[in-house]
């Protein structure tokens, strides 16, 4: 029970901090002081107090988009084990629900974007669905590989299964998996090298361009949802990449939080040292990730 409460608390409160850490890291690399770590929280609070502007072309779909997206991400968040603790909702086959919940959120994000009738948001939506579609098989390859290792199809088991021993036993495939997962993490959350959340040239954007017309609380919900998504996928990544379990519940939580903050720093570093890929290169990278994960699966299944 305590774990569930901690799980919910961490999942609900923690995600915006990741954005803050990434921002700080990037600022550090750029030699700036940067915004405070808690800037995302301030932003959210500010947004929830702001009024909204709605386009005349929009319908209820535009308002429903952020809500459904956030709800789906929240449910996904409940399916993920954090810090070697089983998830609040856990059942065999939940990995499929996990993947499809992202599908649902994507569906609503994109139709909300199309609802504005803006050509740029349409463009963003098209890119978003296309790239995610390519990322989806990779996610499944990775999850199946892990499932095969753990002989289970429950996310909680799958993701808490990897131990240092597995790394020794199947180091190569674990490495491939981690690589693939990292690419997915960046791609799904629209980070560099796939997308630049800070850019202001609409033609090159993916996720940000879809939410151009959202304002006020809706935009707050979107920002929060994006942070949550980063957190969820980050948690998956951390679980696989850092298979350390102390046995002590609180120590595990601490390790997890440190690890995910480290991940945020890593992302920040990546964003600082890499440039955005050209749009035509993105599918190639994604397909590359699919091949990595498929290769990992072959190594394990063989």
């Amino acid at each position: 029970m305590t774990d569930i409460i901690i799980h919910c608390a961490v999942a609900l409160l923690f995600p915006p901090l990741l954005l803050g850490v990434i921002g700080k890291t990037k600022a550090a690399f750029a030699g700036r002081v940067g915004a405070p770590y808690f800037q995302p929280y301030y932003d959210l609070i500010k947004l929830f107090r702001k009024g909204s502007v709605f386009s005349e072309t929009t319908t209820w779909v535009f308002r429903a988009g952020p809500v459904v997206t956030l709800s789906a991400t929240l449910i996904a968040c409940l399916l993920i084990p954090l810090g070697r603790h089983a998830a609040p909702i856990s059942f065999s086959g939940d990995l499929i629900l996990f993947a499809y919940l992202f599908g649902l959120s994507r569906f609503f994000t994109t139709i909300a974007a199309l609802d504005t009738g803006s050509s740029f948001e349409g463009m963003g939506a098209a890119r978003e669905v296309t790239f995610s579609c390519l990322a989806e098989p990779t996610l499944f390859f990775t999850l199946i590989t892990l499932a095969r290792m753990s002989k289970s199809i429950t996310l909680s088991t799958i993701l808490t299964h990897p131990t240092p021993a597995t790394w020794f036993a199947a180091g190569a495939s674990m490495l491939l998996l981690v690589g693939a997962l990292f690419i997915i993490l960046l791609a799904e959350n629209c980070r560099i090298p796939f997308d630049d959340p800070n850019t202001h040239l609409e033609l090159t954007m993916i996720h940000e361009v879809m939410v151009l017309d959202h304002s006020g609380p809706a935009f707050g919900i979107i920002l929060y949802g994006a942070a949550l998504k980063l957190f969820v996928l980050g948690a998956v990544f951390v679980n696989v990449a850092l298979p350390i379990a102390t046995g002590n519940a609180l120590a595990d939580w601490a390790i997890f939080i440190v690890a995910i903050l480290a991940l945020a720093v890593t992302i920040g570093i990546v964003e600082s040292v890499m440039a955005r890929l050209r749009l035509v290169r993105i599918p190639q990278l994604l397909v590359g990730a699919t091949i990595l994960s498929a290769f990992a699966m072959m190594l394990v299944l063989r």
């Binding site: 629900l97 139709i111 199309l114 609802d115 050509s119 199946i144």
Partner: protein, 681 residues
């Protein structure tokens, strides 16, 4: 119609389980009565000279038949066993039998529901007041529905063939309702040729079966040894004959055109129901054998995968709303076949998860696809009425003008993408669980590959349906007609509401779906209840329901909070931000073509888009430039059409033997004499 004359009083009861019988009427009799009612539904309209009333009477007939039929199905599911009817047929094929079993229920359940909905819908969609072909259409719609019931009832090769062909021909007459259009003619001809070719394969199949067992009556389940020398041939011909009807690649070529050009309610029946008859045929044929070769399972799996990926890839690149839905039918049939393939592989390798989950996945998807594809096709009919076109790119902004159709279509779209919390997810969940579980526990790694494939298909489906929902309903109208679109009458929306409710209920309470399907799975897989329970217990239906409900609650709570918040804060309306363009117009919006351009590019290897690029000139003001692409239907465009032309050319050379010169004709006679003389010596 053959159905009505055939029922002779002589029939035998094969026993029934009284405990579960809801009411005393035999299911088979109910189904026959329903078929008869449907077959004759169009007749009053022909006889009366008030076509409008004829159509209404037909709808009453069909709805009544549907209710009777659904009762029969439910009583079957409840455990009662239908009687077997025997026809003393004066034809040289032996006595014909008709009966139902639990496999039939999977197909009858959506059949009656959709038929009832369609017949009500047609009153407003194809009104006899405006359409002269309405009488004909109503008549054949009745034949079509009744023939499908008979296909499921028939237990005799020739009876089956008759029902099958009546079904196929009725579909032809239905889909050529707008026969004045040359495109309709073309696709009608392709359809007719495809279906007839398939029927010829079935001719061979049933003959071979007759040769193997000595009677045209269907053998009992699992009674036929796989060691019969012609077993493989029987299965292959069945795959050709039935697979063609089901739209399995590479025999799908007739499907997109036919479904796109038929009246929408006909498309709904063809796509939601007729394709499933092909699936039924294959399932029935396979049930005859005691064992099936493993290669068959892999073959079906491969064909299913191919259909799923290629079908949805084709769909993604379409500009025509109904053609898109038709291509997505190919995808869904592919998913059904993936399930069947998993089950067949599992049967031979004794992998219980593959068997049970494969069958569950396939059967649930059969029902689901019947619901949501019919919903979408009926919705497309509303759209065509409203916007006067099938071109996605000429619609837009219809959600504002169609407050009922728009959410219904959204439900259909979400369901067909397999997204929770709708019914599409349930079927796919079973397939995933089956494939992954046996992929990781049992040594069947290849089966696990199904999961990424399904994921890819799901991702492409999201692209496709975001595209049609977004481009059609959202944004600003792209044409004058779309700007003046109107909501449909209640006769059209009510059936859609019913179907959408079906999707919702089945999605939120997947246990219900599983309950409906379990008897058929047990029957078909020859499995005992514990065996099934062992597997289904692993499928997270209760937690899924919980998660679904939680999702809904979350949406409601967050939504309510958001709306409350919104009410307190200042709101203003404005134009969509045009990114600096001073006067964005509706024509500057992303179109369906541009939306899917990227994915079509990526899938170029499969769909081979035929691009027409604009010529960019620097002159000022710049001239008109257009860009568009069409995806290639490889089998039809690259293989069959050239093949036909080649054969036609070869034939025109051969035809020179008929040159009109009499004296050479005499020589032919003489030559024939000589050949016959020489033959024996």
């Amino acid at each position: 119609m053959p159905t009505c004359n055939h029922i002779l009083p002589r029939y035998e009861r094969k026993g029934r389980c009284e405990a579960f019988v809801f009411f005393s009427v035999d299911p088979t009799i109910c189904l026959l009565a329903a078929a008869t009612l449907m077959a004759f539904s169009g007749v009053p309209g022909l006889v009366m000279n008030r076509p409008v009333w004829g159509q209404r009477i037909a709808a009453v007939f069909v709805v009544a038949a549907s209710i009777v039929g659904e009762f029969a199905v439910i009583s079957l599911l409840g455990g009662s066993r239908g009687a077997t009817f025997q026809i003393d047929w004066p034809l040289p094929f032996g006595q014909a039998l008709m009966s139902v079993d639990l496999l039939s229920t999977i197909f009858l359940l959506p059949l009656f529901l959709v038929c009832g909905c369609v017949s009500v819908y047609s009153i407003a969609y194809w009104p006899a007041r405006e359409q002269t072909s309405a009488g004909k259409l109503t008549l054949f719609l009745g034949f079509f529905a009744a023939a499908m019931v008979m296909v499921v009832l028939a237990r005799h090769g020739v009876l089956f063939l008759i029902a099958w062909e009546v079904m196929a021909l009725s579909a032809y007459f239905l889909l050529t309702a707008e026969q004045q259009s040359s495109e309709v003619q073309r696709v009608g001809t392709i359809y007719l040729i495809a279906t007839h070719t398939g029927t010829m394969a079935l001719f061979a199949m049933f003959s071979l079966l007759r040769g193997a067992i000595g009677t045209f009556q269907f053998p009992a389940s699992h009674s036929l040894s796989q060691a019969v020398p012609v077993a493989s041939v029987i299965i292959i011909t069945a795959l050709i004959g039935f697979g063609g009807k089901a739209g399995l690649m590479p025999l799908h070529f007739w499907l997109p055109g036919a479904h796109a050009n038929a009246p929408s309610h006909v498309s709904a029946m063809m796509s939601g129901l007729m394709l499933k008859m092909g699936v039924y045929g294959i399932l029935r044929t396979m049930s005859f054998f005691d064992a099936l070769p493993v290669w068959l399972g892999w073959l079906i799996l491969l064909l299913g995968t191919w259909s799923a990926i290629n079908g949805i890839a084709l769909a993604a690149g379409q500009r025509d709303l109904k053609r898109l839905l038709a291509c997505s039918s190919i995808e869904n049939v592919g998913i059904i076949f993936i399930g069947i393939g998993l089950a067949v592989v599992g049967l031979q390798l004794h992998a219980p998860y593959l068997i049970v989950c494969g069958l569950f996945g396939a059967f649930i998807h059969i029902i689901n696809h019947g619901l949501f594809k019919s919903l979408l096709f009926l919705g497309s009919g509303v759209l065509i009425h409203a916007a006067g076109t099938r071109e996605i790119d000429r619609m837009g902004g219809l959600a504002r003008r169609m407050p009922i159709t728009s959410p219904l279509f959204l439900i259909g779209s979400l369901a067909i993408c397999g997204l929770p919390p709708l019914n599409g997810f349930v079927g796919e969940l079973f397939l995933y669980v089956g494939a992954i579980t046996d992929g990781i526990i049992a040594p069947l790694p290849l089966a696990a590959l199904v999961a990424p494939v399904l994921a890819l298909v799901g991702g492409l489906a999201v692209i496709t349906f975001v595209k049609i929902y977004g481009i059609i309903f959202l944004g600003a109208p792209r044409s004058v007609a779309a700007a003046h679109g109107h909501e449909a009458t209640r006769a059209m929306t009510a059936p859609m509401v019913l179907l959408a409710l079906g999707c919702l209920v089945a999605g939120l309470a997947p246990v219900l779906l599983v309950r409906l399907v379990t008897p058929a799975v047990a029957f078909y897989g020859n499995l005992a209840a514990p065996e099934i329970a062992l597997v289904t217990d692993q499928v997270p239906l209760v937690p899924l329901t919980f998660a679904n409900c939680l999702l809904i609650i979350l949406v409601l709570v967050i939504g309510a909070a958001y709306l409350l918040r919104l009410r307190r804060l200042p709101r203003s309306l404005g134009a969509t931000w045009g990114c600096g363009y001073p006067e964005p117009t509706a024509r500057m919006q992303y179109t369906g073509t541009s939306f899917s351009e990227m994915v079509v590019n990526l899938l170029g290897a499969i769909v081979a888009p035929n691009r027409r690029k604009p010529i960019l000139v620097t002159a000022i003001p710049p001239a008109d430039a257009r860009f568009h692409y069409t995806v290639t239907e490889t089998v039809l465009d690259r293989i069959l059409t050239p093949l036909f032309q080649g054969v036609g050319l070869a034939f025109s050379y051969l035809r020179r033997v008929q040159h009109g010169q009499l004296h050479i004709y005499v020589l032919y006679i003489f030559a024939t004499l000589c050949v016959l003389m020489a033959w024996t010596h």
